[in-house]
Structures are given as structure tokens and as C-alpha cells.
């Protein structure tokens, strides 16, 4: 029984190492390899919600890793590879969508919200500074 439990424990501890997706492929050249890893983290797996193809164990992610590897070997640049994948899978696969009419709200939203928030904040400050200090406001 004890042996069984120990075996279980060892398995449990070892599991996370097995879960981590080691990209099967790589490059001997460290710079190239670094480029490859970076690129994999930039591309979102189409089948799995919000996992990059570097982190996903879905078969399609493995295929896309192989595709990226192959395209790099053929001498394609990062942008060309990303453009190819976008032409096939759509903007979905990039984490940094380009600035275009359909993404204006996405890119502009945070700035607009910050602006509105700042405006409201300034107004509140102005209102407050006009009000005379009284005992109640100092609590």
C-alpha cells in the first residue's frame, strides 16, 4: 500500500514536467531557436481558447509549430510567417491585432475609457476644491 502511494506521489510530482509542452522541434543555432520560441508565443492556437501554439498540446498546435519551423527553415521572415497564418486562420491567431477599422474599438477603447475616467476625476476634484472645508470632510 505504502509503495503504491509513493508511486502515486512521484507520478503526481512528475506530472507538471510532462504537461509543459516541449516544442518537439528546435534549431541548433541559439539565435534562430530564440526567434522560433518567440514566434510560437506570438501565435494563438485556433482550436484552443487563449493558448499560444507554444503552450498548447492540441494536435493542431503541433502542426502549426511544425509549419512555423518549416517556414523558418525555408528562410521566411517572422512577418511573412505571421502573414501566412493570418491569411489562412484570420486575425484570431495573432495576439497583437493590427490597427484597422474592425479593431479601432479594441485599440482605442482603453484610451477612451482612461480619458473619460480622467475627465470625471478632474470634475470631482474641481467640485471639491470649490467647496469650503468643513469639519465633516475631515473625518
Amino acid at each position: 500500500m505504502m509503495k503504491f502511494l509513493t508511486a502515486w506521489l512521484v507520478l503526481l510530482l512528475a506530472a507538471p514536467a510532462a504537461w509543459a509542452i516541449e516544442a518537439e522541434l528546435g534549431f541548433d543555432d541559439p539565435a534562430m531557436n530564440e526567434r522560433y520560441r518567440t514566434l510560437l508565443r506570438e501565435i494563438r492556437c485556433p482550436k484552443c481558447l487563449n493558448t499560444s501554439i507554444a503552450d498548447s498540446d492540441a494536435p493542431i498546435a503541433a502542426d502549426l509549430r511544425r509549419e512555423v519551423h518549416q517556414k523558418m527553415e525555408e528562410g521566411y521572415g517572422d512577418e511573412e510567417i505571421i502573414a501566412f497564418l493570418v491569411s489562412r486562420y484570420g486575425e484570431f491567431v495573432v495576439y497583437r491585432p493590427p490597427l484597422q477599422p474592425s479593431t479601432w474599438a479594441l485599440w482605442g477603447g482603453p484610451v477612451a475609457l482612461l480619458g473619460i475616467g480622467g475627465f470625471v476625476f478632474m470634475r470631482i476634484l474641481k467640485d471639491r476644491s470649490k467647496r469650503p472645508l468643513d469639519e465633516d470632510s475631515i473625518s
Partner: protein
């Protein structure tokens, strides 16, 4: 007045977005290939490995390209309907067998019936990447000039055929069977 109006408007807008979000399918990715020329390919035939099957086979024809595999449950669901379409619709169906085992795939066609004019065998999924395939079953409608007219992800059903495919087919060629482009 303002003090209440701004938060209310804000909540209404946010609520509107969230409400809409309830009915969106986050797994659905619109294909950028629709309206674009279909990617060319040539692969060994599933049934006759020495023969090539590819985009040349449906050049000049209105055709369906159905991506399937024996490990795909949705493919089994739609199989009977594909058989029906192959008999009644007048649109030739080509198969792309994706990341599958040849023997299993042949067995599937022998047992369940073969709706395909020809099936290309893509065990590594290279051609599938070129077509932006990410989950079987997927069905492409390809026009006579080789343009992708429509892409459907998930099993094909009579409702979807009526709603999504038939209007596109009518637009492309009036009535079925679709006349071939002259000179092809």
C-alpha cells in the same frame, strides 16, 4: 442628473456588449479564405495511393471539399447526410482525410458508405493548414472559378445546407446541377 446618467449609460452599454457575448460562439473563427482563391493542393488518393487527388480535380466545377477523419465524432454525425447530398444534390463532394490512419479511413468508407468522388489523404495535416482547417468536420463550398464561396465548421445538416449553402449555390449558378464553365 449627470451624476446618475453617466453610470447608467455606461452600465447599459457594457450590459449590451455582455448580452451580445452570451450568444457568440468563441470557438467560431471566420475564415479569411472565403472570397479568396482556394489554395491549390495535390495529395495521394486515399483509395489509390499511387494516384494524386487535388484542387485540379474540381477545377471549373462547383464542388464541396469536406474535411474528415475517423477520430472525429462530428464527421460520423454528418456522414449519413453527406451520403444523401452525394446522391441528390448534384454537387460533387471531395474528401480531405485529415490526420488519420489510412486503414481506419478505408474501413470507415467501406462500412458507412463513400459519399466522395475522391478523397485526398493528408496524414500530417500540411494541406489542412493551407486551408486554415482547425477542427473537423469542415466543409468548403468552392465555386467554378476556384473561389471559396463558403466555409462551414461543424457537422453539415439539412438546415445548414438550406440556409447557408443553397443561397450561395443559386447565386453562383442559378439552379442545380450547376452548369460547367465553358471552356473548362
Amino acid at each position: 442628473m449627470w451624476r446618475y446618467a453617466i453610470p447608467l449609460v455606461f452600465i447599459a452599454v457594457l450590459g449590451g456588449f455582455l448580452y451580445r457575448g452570451l450568444y457568440l460562439n468563441p470557438g467560431y473563427i471566420p475564415s479569411p479564405l472565403v472570397g479568396q482563391p482556394a489554395p491549390e493542393f495535390s495529395l495521394p488518393s486515399l483509395k489509390e495511393p499511387e494516384r494524386e487527388v487535388g484542387s485540379d480535380d474540381f477545377a471549373g466545377k462547383l464542388a464541396l471539399l469536406n474535411v474528415w477523419a475517423t477520430w472525429c465524432i462530428g464527421c460520423r454525425q454528418e456522414h449519413a447526410y453527406l451520403l444523401e447530398l452525394s446522391r441528390t444534390s448534384g454537387v460533387p463532394i471531395y474528401g480531405l482525410n485529415w490526420k488519420d490512419d489510412r486503414d481506419a479511413a478505408l474501413d470507415w468508407l467501406a462500412t458507412l458508405g463513400d459519399p466522395y468522388v475522391a478523397t485526398a489523404y493528408d496524414p500530417l495535416g500540411d494541406v489542412a493548414i493551407d486551408w486554415g482547417v482547425y477542427g473537423a468536420p469542415e466543409t468548403f463550398l468552392i465555386g467554378r472559378d476556384g473561389t471559396v464561396l463558403h466555409k462551414h465548421i461543424a457537422p453539415l445538416t439539412p438546415e445548414i445546407w438550406q440556409r447557408d449553402f443553397l443561397p450561395k449555390i443559386r447565386e453562383e449558378c442559378g439552379s442545380l446541377p450547376c452548369p460547367l464553365v465553358e471552356g473548362e
